[in-house]
């Protein structure tokens, strides 16, 4: 039993490795993360309104009930994605999440500075392949690079009071996302 401290030390070190690797593997192993939950309810590359959360049911925990929300579950494997979201009267935001729920970009109506939030979403490879002259004409096009091929775009419109919820919902209903058709010029 003289070796007991040594065995314990070994167990502690191994335990630390087990702990770190399980934490790091969790996002890949999760089956109840936001993307998996939405994958069951939404088609790909299309803006779909989300049912508002209530006490009986909510798609995700900690959703803000003051907001109307819609989601575009994207897949960039067939090309870059165009997003167009009209802004509502109160406050509108668009947040981009990777496949593993990391919010890598978010913009609101004021930062967009227009009547609609218009963006092009693409993978770094697709961005690199863009013709240079197109890059110049695209000066006023906002280009976002997605770290993952699939992910989520969540559009949110605030209803400052409950009576404004219909308005917020109808403004989101005008939002579109879709894969760009490759036009040869």
């Amino acid at each position: 039993m003289k070796r007991l401290p040594l065995w314990l030390l070994g167990a502690l070190l191994l335990g630390g490795i087990v702990h770190l690797s399980t934490v790091l593997a969790m996002p890949q192993a999760a089956t109840q993360d936001a993307y998996s939950r939405l994958a069951r309810l939404t088609p790909v590359n299309k803006v779909v309104p989300l049912p508002p959360p209530d006490a009986r049911a909510a798609i995700m925990p900690f959703m803000d009930p003051a907001f109307a929300a819609a989601v575009c579950r994207y897949d960039l494997s067939s090309g870059a994605l165009k997003l167009n979201a009209p802004v509502s009267q109160a406050y509108t935001s668009v947040t981009f999440y990777t496949r593993n729920s990391v919010a890598y970009y978010a913009i609101n109506d004021r930062a967009a500075g227009r009547r609609a939030i218009e963006l092009d979403l693409m993978t770094p490879e697709q961005h690199a392949q863009m013709p240079e002259d197109e890059d110049v004409t695209a000066a006023d096009r906002l280009i976002i690079e997605s770290p993952t091929t699939t992910g989520l775009i969540v559009l949110r419109a605030l209803a400052p009071e409950p009576g404004a919820m219909e308005k917020a919902r109808s403004s989101l209903a005008g939002a579109r996302c879709g894969v760009e058709v490759q036009a040869q010029q």
Binding site: A11, L13, V18, T95, R110
Partner: protein, 192 residues
């Protein structure tokens, strides 16, 4: 024989330590880089690519989508200013100042992030709809029984969480070190 027993013992203990630590940290929602003001705590990095591995694992497990840093910032409170855990059978008042933001919302959830059922279907307030006094200040009564003014019903649940979300706010990563504030004060008034 001794070697075999020792290895088995070590491996089992390692698995227990490792998985136990993972379960503990994830169920307690450990994350780094928090910003605490009074009873309120926010994790500004959770809304960006700088989110730490523990927070990543936590949101993967809960299914939550954190609010993006360019959108806003969410402050969570589990206790009042004195450290009393939020009990739905007690009455709390929230009053005071809020940091600069275009809009804010305050929402009451159960600890799992679900809205709490109540008779008037009220789960929170927005900065636009809250009733203020002539000087622009507000007070919110959080409790099981109806109150005049801004009443946020708890539905009598055993435990609840308040989330204060600031939208289009200058507070965030850049101001982590500076003394921010103020956030509304939370005081327990009594329990039934």
């Amino acid at each position: 024989m001794r070697l075999f027993v020792g290895s088995c013992f070590t491996l089992l203990l390692a698995a227990a330590i490792g998985l136990g630590a993972t379960w503990l940290t994830l169920s307690h929602g450990i994350a780094f880089g928090s910003l605490t003001i009074g009873a309120w705590t926010a994790w500004p990095k959770n809304g960006s690519v700088d989110i730490d591995p523990y927070a990543r694992a936590t949101i993967a497990r809960t299914g939550e989508l954190p609010i993006g840093a360019g959108d806003g910032l969410a402050f969570y409170a589990h206790t009042d200013d004195a450290g009393n855990t939020f009990d739905g059978r007690c009455t709390f008042t929230i009053s005071g100042m809020t940091p600069a933001a275009r809009y804010w919302t305050v929402t009451l959830y159960d600890p799992e992030g679900r809205l709490v059922a109540n008779k008037i279907d009220r789960h929170g307030f927005t900065s636009a709809e809250i009733v203020r006094d002539s000087s622009g200040r507000f007070a919110i009564n959080v409790g099981p029984r109806a109150r005049p003014g801004n009443w946020l019903p708890t539905g009598g649940v055993e435990q609840f969480v308040l989330v204060w979300r600031l939208y289009d706010t200058p507070i965030g990563l850049a101001s982590l070190t500076s003394k921010e504030g103020p956030m509304p004060a939370i005081v327990r008034k009594g329990c039934s």
